[in-house]
Point group: C2
Chain length 119, copies 2
């Protein structure tokens, strides 16, 4: 699904450039689970993402799969790797997003579950 | 969420014992994406799962995270390992499920996206 691929590219480009700008992709009823820590709503999710303990990060999504969900949503499962700061060894991760369109027709993240994967 | 943990335990126990019995967890509008191959509906999903090219399989879900979704659904992200047949090396995987209740009040799988992870 083109919308899924576009969203994923946009999400990680924004995350890696300046993650404060991810706030625009969430709404008041959005949920984030980041490594078992939970946040809800734009402010709380943005604070969580901005406050993550690294400066530089680079995501590489190696696989993106998507399915339609009820009420015209999209479920996306991403698996990939990321590198933080000066660390040379990539970390595996998996992330599930459920997107919906807001009344203005813009896709936003309703569900976001992120998990690092240790081999 | 208790329903998520119970579902995941039941799903993999059933998968590893006799995956033909997974059919009861899907409905006619259910979708499966298994390693980029897609199936929809009980019959097609069950045929895909039963026809996978291994006899024995053992899943171990090392992390299960869940969030509520619109219309009383549940989104689950599982990361874990599995071993097939006589293979000694576990394979990493990630799987996203979205569950809904059917009119009889039984949870079923609406979305199912499975992906092997190669380190």
């Amino acid at each position: 699904m083109a919308a899924a691929a576009q969203f994923v590219a946009h999400y990680y480009t924004t995350f890696d450039a300046d993650r404060a700008n991810l706030a625009g992709l969430y709404r008041e009823n959005s949920m984030l689970t980041f490594e078992s820590s939970q946040a809800m709503g734009v402010k709380s999710i943005s604070e969580k993402l901005v406050g993550l303990p690294f400066q530089k990060v680079k995501h590489e999504a190696s696989a993106v799969e998507a399915q339609p969900t009820p009420n015209d949503g999209i479920l996306i499962l991403v698996t990939g790797h990321l590198m933080v700061d000066e660390e040379q060894r990539p970390l595996g991760y998996s992330q599930a997003f459920q997107l919906y369109k807001d009344p203005a027709g813009q896709w936003f993240v309703y569900n976001d579950i992120f998990k690092l994967i240790f081999a």
